[in-house]
Symmetry: D2
Subunit: 498 residues, 4 copies
């Protein structure tokens, strides 16, 4: 059985005292194992990063960047292999894995602009003969902890930018599906990255806690669930580190009566059920304004959901695949059960879906719940499964109040043709990423990703311009070259420009 | 006896169950009292800020800015009164208080540029027919906790920018010298600020903890000592808030053999002894490279320090004033004692200085310690008094190693004429604010202020461009206006640009 | 009779060999005279600017900026006087003059942000040990030539920004109404501007040509009609200067069938007839999509135009005033005549309007022409009078084709509620300033003003960020400090980063 | 004999009525021919560009950019062939051609950041409910006219950026050495560029004048000599186009007495003689401060110049190659003759150099002239050959006055160890590109290239951030979505924010 190990100082490290099984969720079988790093192994990774830092920070940014140009080429050349690895361990259909990879590559492309992005601000003559400028220098060793649902894309949100900024990186990917992550880390070395600049350790809480407590780690980026995000944020801060911790979501779409319904139905299907709903930007609630549009929506969705196909990752005709684990499948089914008990109408029921050839896989079919209300447990929680819930309200204001009352504020969207409704909504809603007729408003790589409220802890969002700022430390230099002939008198006052 | 109270919802609140004395440190007498807010009072301030927020965030930035233009005028018109209040409670000489005020006003001037600073990033056609842009929206209620040593400047680092960004502010200034802070808060109201947008509460740990735990407070800015900064940072983070916490310092100047010594001596006097050394950017250690330059420096400093005058704030001929409290004076004297015991040479001794007319004031005279070594307690600690220590090393590398080994990384400078030495130093030194022949490299208001290592916790520095980012929340909007005639197929894959 | 002279080197210069009458257009009487500068006088102004330049370019930007803060205060304090001067010479009603002044002050406010706006770009380590940065340095002596229709606002688009960037300025305002311009130039000196930094010369083509040919003038900003703009641009370029020349306009509004008609009618009245239509952003053509909306529009406009009042500038109840000269009045009337002859329907006729008490003033009443077609002379030309023309088309595409076929591309707007129509229009229309439900889309001072096609010659727009770039020259510095011990081999190849 | 033709609409066009010989300057033989486009051919190229524009401007920037990523790969893969083509027609030694190519590729890398570089500025709430933003849209058809000395690099300064910004391009390279230029244009098509987006026409003044007069061409970028640059700038402007025209140079190095002489000599050799001095950034004058340093410099240069080797492009051991034409060789020799006649001392004489195997090539050997004075013709002119002239002065001020008195202001540098001298020089010198211990201060691709005085006509420099601005047109949109229920009153005044 394949053992997925670590990558430390440019070397594969397959020795492991503790291991855990890695399942193919479509077959329900454990086909690989992953090593779980001990504290000492994580410390070795940190030490390797620390050792590589002095030379890497001195490498001019444009040289660092050229490695990213080559990395992009290699990712494109190896796309098939990457998507296969994602599919085997995560279950994502190959076209969806290709989308994930493409979104990841866009972050590499953005990192290729580092020489521009790292420019500091220069001021000639802040005072007589005095100049001042700010530079953005690397932090040193930084860490990333990433989730199972995007084993390639989320790591690519982090390490390419951190690395072109001059940092050395320790990545701890999800232990559920680390294979693709490890593979792309190796590709970066093939692209010319010096050993130690990127290190990957697999592991569990022991690895995470080592990263959070080690004083050599300067910053931590995290993407996962809200309770863990809170723990990461508080622990990193208690250890004096900078931290950005992205958590859970409950993304609502508002459907206005003037919306283009065909367009809305089509785009909702993908946004709700793509990747089995295991996306932090999945659209899981539709708030329909008025019963007329709600009835029409439910009717059309019921019809459209008939055609959806579930199955194994490598069959392109499939729409989505299994959930990540048996436990998670049971949890999702439990949410449907509870919604039904609490009064929701199960319009399309994905429980007990049949997936010929994958009978033991962790599948739940696309599920549509109507007449959901805000008190139901299924509404309060992030289900992270292929379950779309419909809530009916009578006005835009009511819909917005509902969204603002929810603990999460990651993404949201509105379907309308009306410029005023769109502007009012996007201006006021307490959510970090807003779509207007766009159900999955994931910002492109040259903007930044981040939710509000309990969906993100920290002040800088992930990737894009905020990523640059997060992975750099501002240094401000004030310079004056005295004339030898000039004798100056002492200044006891706070110096200001006279 | 004057009671310095709170300012909540635009109203003076002088009711206080608990109070504390405010001393004139030059006379040693308590001449005023300050109210110490109970938890409920702080909560009222937060509630007032929360209530003012909806209207204030909807006020166009340019209208918010115009209030700052008027505030600048009022600060200039009331400069004399402000400096007097600073002097009475802090002891700072009037010319130094004027410098502090001027530096504070520069932050108001910078805040007047808010319409420019708040511009978001707009991208047409991130995909076919899809636009995306980021906006920087206000957070809501934010808090500032500020130190005694700059009762006007440090608050002005915070609230003008926070407020023009659309936030409402709760300020807790130092309880040692809150008079000038309260006065300028009132001036801002005179300039047209709506009630509740800026609130000021005086208090102690109870007030601070209320701000740190109240869920309505979105962000906390702090300036003070490192142990408190760590506590603030960890507690704010544990409560899910964003936080920037600025702590202590130990600022070294390197004196190279080729330095212009006259210039160095003159500028060092002010940087070391101005405001009695009670500045987080005070220059407290000179690292002389070579005994020749060290001997020359010590000889000239000894001579120059003879002329320094201590005394009451309103006499312009004085160079600096008393320390803030009797306890602090004792602590500074204790550091001189210990350095002497541990082998330092007391070249000029400020213990027992005489200040006619201010015999009971908390004065320590300018003190010069030579042959200090890194193990001495006086070197490890931030003394925050008029004590300048000289360390002798034999090379630039040795000097830099010393600085990098210290726990703080706030400010530092080098005296040299050599371009290479300056570039090597400024590039590599692990300190956030670097001076080249500038002993107090406080960045101007349009750059940002922040140290490295244990001098700052957080990722964004204070004021300047980083201040704008700290006081705003990024919202990214992705917009597509569908053509009615266009039927689109559902997308189950991660959407990317084909 | 008052003689309006020049301001050179900080001194009023009232000697004039040639003069011209300045009329009060509401009374039709010449009440003042303006000096027309000879070539030698303009050369004196240039010499004064040149002489002031070395000290002014060495004045730190923040000190230059402080003069602008004071200038803003003085403009506000003297608003009444400024509006009176505008009214006496231009005829603009006092509330409209106040609007002009306010818009001008906004440019002064923007200039107050110069220290931020002048920041250069700094790159550490463009190669090993090599740093590079760009600075934006002043040009030297720059000139502005401004039109009669905004005697205060357009000069304030130019000289505040040019001056805070470190340039010295020679302004030639319109000889029709130079009084207010001269007055504000004096206020800037009262604010502390050193003599020679801003110079004002009144004059005609002789003055203009002197500015265009003198080698000491580095750059020319112009606002006026297109034929003159073309002449200015070509002549400045032939003399090696940088130039931005803003010309004429024909601004169309598209009225879509879904528009909010009440809102449209109300806002059109002001945009078409405010300041008698003598604005380069005046809305002079409505393109109605469909006869239904056209009929409704014409009916409502006819009704609404009844209430409009013409008259003298100081009566607040008046809506607009006279045209600038008798010749121009005749020209506007001629355009109405020709439109009528060529088949347009004169719905409301402003020819022969009566203005009791101002019988000799140059008044034309608000005029509405329906069923105008693109071949008519009145449609091809910029009328610059209170004449609104309605064209009827059958689709948005047809409306846009009409706009794109016109030689000018200054401003345009669309009235609709539909997000798609707005996006399609704003993305594709070949016009520099676009309004969506905003009839006069003059960019705010922190954006930049400029048309496309034959409405602007040059590459940088006026004021805002482009203004900063126009008034500065980029200097890029590449720096390397060699180690003495390092012997390097010669490089015969084009140096690149290895 | 090979005929180098055009590339129009993606097709090679080899039909030519007029042709001209292309020489191998090392052998002196015409080995190829180049077609000279007639007016009608250039118009076809413009038409092809115009036709391609609508689809290209609608292609999302990130898709345009991906073609540049592939172009970079192809340039790297075909480096050998490109350098060979450069060598055959220009004579540049292969290592120098590789340097040229690498510098060109850096501009392609920069263009890969277009999605970031094209971001507009977005302002929420410029007034109540009003938003405003600026976009940078493409111009349409733009043209580039490039010189013989960098047949690959200078075109790459222009078209990659113009094209990723959404423009379509017509390039007219030098008719002396168009082969490599044509080859890379074809590579861009291989990378996926749609036909018509980049067109190349070879030609002479007829082609240039067609580009300058055709109304479809929106902008012209030029690099060449100053008389032609002036003509281009004036003619483009007279035709209403935007234009940046880069001209000649006379680049001085100041050698201070404290300079590291070994380093200076080594770097001067390459900067003066590399590419036979046929670079607009070639270092052609050394201003030595003091006779001591002048004497030492001349002695060491005389010694070092002995080892220089001239010859054919493909021999790596050669230091530099021939001049571009026989006429130019005669002109360079004439300058040496005249300097000698006018009193300069010919320390090393490159006239009559022998180049075995290339006896008919256009070679001039490295030449050193001492005791040159500012009145000499050789000093006033741009020689563009391997001739280094030494002027002796007695102070930094005198050296700077000399530089500022010269008509050109392209590049300059200073050799010193002194921070004050470097700052004083870089701040004040009237030159656009300044080196400190860097003799060829060509800005890296993420900064911009441009001289001052008569070295550049226009306001925006070439490539880098200025390139983006030059190749885009600002459009500012102001948007308001009215509430239906809100009736608003007309505004006759200039609208401002109340």
């Amino acid at each position: 059985m394949t053992l997925i190990g670590h990558l430390i100082g440019g070397e594969r490290r397959n020795d492991a005292t503790r291991t855990q099984e890695v399942f193919n969720p479509a077959t329900g079988r454990a086909e690989k194992q992953v090593a779980l790093a001990a504290k000492s192994t994580v410390e070795e990774a940190i030490a390797a990063a620390q050792a590589a830092f002095p030379a890497w920070r001195d490498t001019p940014p444009i040289k660092r960047t050229r490695i990213m140009f080559r990395f992009k080429e290699l990712l494109e050349q190896n796309a098939e292999r990457i998507c296969q690895l994602i599919g085997e361990e995560h279950g994502k259909i190959v076209h969806d894995a290709a989308g994930e990879l493409q979104r990841g590559i866009e972050n590499v492309e953005y990192a290729c602009g580092a020489p521009q992005l790292l420019k500091g601000e220069h001021s000639r003559s802040v005072g007589p003969g005095i100049d001042s400028w700010s530079e953005f220098q690397p932090l040193g060793v930084v860490a990333g902890i990433t989730p199972f649902n995007f084993p390639v894309m989320v790591p690519l949100w982090m390490f390419p930018m951190a690395i072109v900024c001059g940092n050395c990186f320790v990545l701890k990917p999800s232990e559920r599906d680390p294979g693709a992550t490890l593979f792309i880390a190796e590709l970066l070395h093939e692209a010319g990255l010096p050993p130690g600049v990127l290190n990957l350790v697999n592991g569990d809480k022991e690895a995470v806690d080592t990263l959070l407590h080690d004083p050599r780690v300067q910053a931590v980026s995290f993407v996962g669930s809200t309770p863990i995000a809170e723990y990461i944020y508080a622990t990193a801060a208690a250890n004096g580190k900078r931290c950005q911790a992205l958590g859970g979501a409950k993304n609502h779409a508002i459907l206005m009566p003037d919306a283009d319904l065909d367009n809305a139905v089509n785009s909702l299907l993908g946004a709700a059920f793509g990747s089995s709903g295991e996306r932090c930007m999945a659209l899981s609630v539709v708030v329909a304004v008025g019963d007329a549009v709600a009835d029409a929506l439910v009717a059309r969705l019921r019809e459209a959901m008939r055609g959806l196909k579930l199955g194994i990752h490598h069959e392109r005709g499939n729409d989505f695949g299994p959930l990540i684990t048996r436990q998670h499948k049971d949890r999702v089914v439990g949410h449907i059960d509870s919604a039904e008990r609490q009064g929701a109408q199960v319009v399309v029921d994905g429980r007990g879906v049949r997936t010929p050839g994958c009978e033991e896989g962790f599948f739940v079919g696309a599920t549509l719940l109507d007449r959901v209300s805000p008190e139901m447990d299924s509404y309060r929680a992030e289900i992270f499964g292929p379950v779309l819930q419909v809530i009916r309200v009578s006005s835009l204001e009511e819909a917005m109040a509902l969204i603002d009352a929810h603990e999460y504020g990651n993404g949201t969207c509105i379907y309308t043709r009306d410029g005023e409704a769109a502007r009012y909504f996007s201006d006021r809603i307490q959510v970090g990423m807003v779509g207007i007729n766009v159900p999955l408003p994931v910002p492109v790589a040259y903007h930044s990703f981040g939710g509000w409220k309990r969906s993100l802890f920290g002040d800088l969002h992930a990737y894009g311009p905020d990523g640059v700022r997060f992975y750099t430390r501002r240094k401000t230099i004030t310079q004056r070259w005295p004339s030898a002939s000039l004798r100056e008198s002492a200044e006891f006052s706070m110096p200001t420009l006279k």
